[in-house]
Assembly symmetry: C2
Homo-oligomer: 284 residues x 2
Amino acid sequence: MKEADFIAALAALAGDPAARRLRDDAAVIELGGERLILTHDTLVQGVHVREDEDPADIAWKLVAVNLSDLAAKGAEPVGVLIGHMLGNGDERFVEGLRAVLSEFDLPLLGGDTVRAEGRRVWGCTAIGRATSNPVPDRRGAKAGDAVYVTGTLGRAMLGFEAPEGEHGPAYRRPVPRLAEGCALAPIVTAMMDISDGLLLDCWRLAEASGTRIELASEVIPVADPARRAECLRWGDDYELLFTAPSELPLPVEATRIGTVSDAGPALLLDGRALSNADGLGYSH
Amino acid sequence: MKEADFIAALAALAGDPAARRLRDDAAVIELGGERLILTHDTLVQGVHVREDEDPADIAWKLVAVNLSDLAAKGAEPVGVLIGHMLGNGDERFVEGLRAVLSEFDLPLLGGDTVRAEGRRVWGCTAIGRATSNPVPDRRGAKAGDAVYVTGTLGRAMLGFEAPEGEHGPAYRRPVPRLAEGCALAPIVTAMMDISDGLLLDCWRLAEASGTRIELASEVIPVADPARRAECLRWGDDYELLFTAPSELPLPVEATRIGTVSDAGPALLLDGRALSNADGLGYSH
C-alpha cells in the first residue's frame, strides 16, 4: 500500500476524505463547552533525529514539534503524554523533558515506556485548548489574501550543519510559536506550521484551500541568502505560515511573502508554477 | 539508567513522585467542567505482538488496550489518535482499525505516519470522559474491602497458544470492559485493568493502596484449571480488577477472589506472601 493511499484510508476512517494528509492536522473536538486540540507526532531515530542526537535534544524536539502543531491552531497547551523506548541516555532524555516542560510551563500527563532492541521511536500527544472560534486550519485561504510567514527560514538547516554555531539551537531545540499562534488565530483565514519546508507546506496550504499561492522569493526572510533555494525547502523551522486579508494589521511580527489568487496551479514561485514533484521539501 | 529509575524520574516530572508506574495510570485532567481521561500505549513488534501478527489484529489490539485503560477509569471513550509506522500489511492494518473503531463507535481523531526500516512500533492515545466523581484509581483499596475480578483469566494465554481455537479471539482481539467500568466506577474503592497478569497487577494495586491483598487461588476463575498458576500470571486478558466494600451489591458480573487487609506483605496467595521478585506476571 502506498503511503498516500494509507493516509487517505486513515483520513476516510477519520470521517474526512478531504484530509489528504491526516498526520499534519491536529484534531479539534468539542467537550464540555471547550474546543480541545489534539496532536500526535512520532520521531524515529535516524529519520527525524540523528543517530547520535543528544537524547535531551530529542526530548525537547518531541514536545516542541507537537506544541508547534498546537500553535498553528492558536491553542494554549494543556499537557503532553510521552511514549518512550528505553535505551542509552535516558538520564539525558529526562533532563531534556524537564527543560522543555519547564520552558513551556507544561505538565507531563502520562505516557508509556517500552523496552525493545533496534531503532528507537518516540511518540508524543499534546493536548491544547482553543482560544479562537473557529479554530484555524489550512483550508481557509481566499483569493486576495496576503501570505505571511513568521521568523527566518533555513535556521534549522544551518544549525543542523553546524551544531555548535549560531543556529545550532534552532535545529536542536526549536521554539514553537505559541504566543504568535494565539494572537493570530482570530484574524487568519488559514494557518499551519512549517515542519517540512516552506514551499512544500505552502503547496499543501494552497491545495487544501483550493487556491493558488504566488510567492516572491526575494522577500522571503532566509538565514543564508546565498542558499535561498535550500532555505525554502529545508524543514524543521517550525515557523507559522498563514494567510489573512491583505489590509488587516497583524498583531505579531511576520513577513508578507506572497498573495493568494484564484484556482490554477497551486503554487507559483517568482511566476513559475511548482508542483510537489519538484522536490518542494522534506517528505517523511 | 534502570527502567524503574526512568519511570520514577518521569513520574516526578508528572508531579507525582508516588506514581511509581507512570505508564499504567491514565491521566485525569479537568477541562471545561469535564474530567478528561487520557492514556497512551505503545505496541512493539516482537515484544507486545508477534513478528507475524496479522496487522488487522495489531490495529485492534492497539486501540483495545487503550480503551481498557479508559474502562478502568469508568470513562466513556471520545476518540483515539494513532501513530503508525508504514510497512507490510498496511491494508490489513486499516481493516482492523476500521473494525475496532466501528465496534466501539469511536472516531479516529488524528495521528501520524512514519517510514523507517527495522522493528515496527505503533502508538495510540485514547481520550475519554469520566462518568464518576472521583475517578477510580489503584490507590484506594481499604482494609475490609472485597477484591473482585471480571471474566475468566488465562483466555489470552490459551488463545496465544492456539490462535484458531476457542480462545483465539481473546488474544487477538481483546474486548475492553467499557460498560462494566462505567457501571463499577461509582462504587469501587480502587480499580485497574489486568494487562500484565492478575498476580502482578494485584500486587501493584496492593502496593499503591498501602494495603495487603489476600487471594484464594481456587476461587479465581481460570480458563484452564490444570494450569491455574500460569493463568494467574499471563497478561493480555484486559479484565477489570477492583476492590469495593464487601457488603455492596455489584452492578455487573464479577467474582470475589480475595480480601483487602491491613498493611503487611502486599500480596498473599493461599496464605503465602508473594513479592514481585517471584515472577508474578509480565514485566515489559
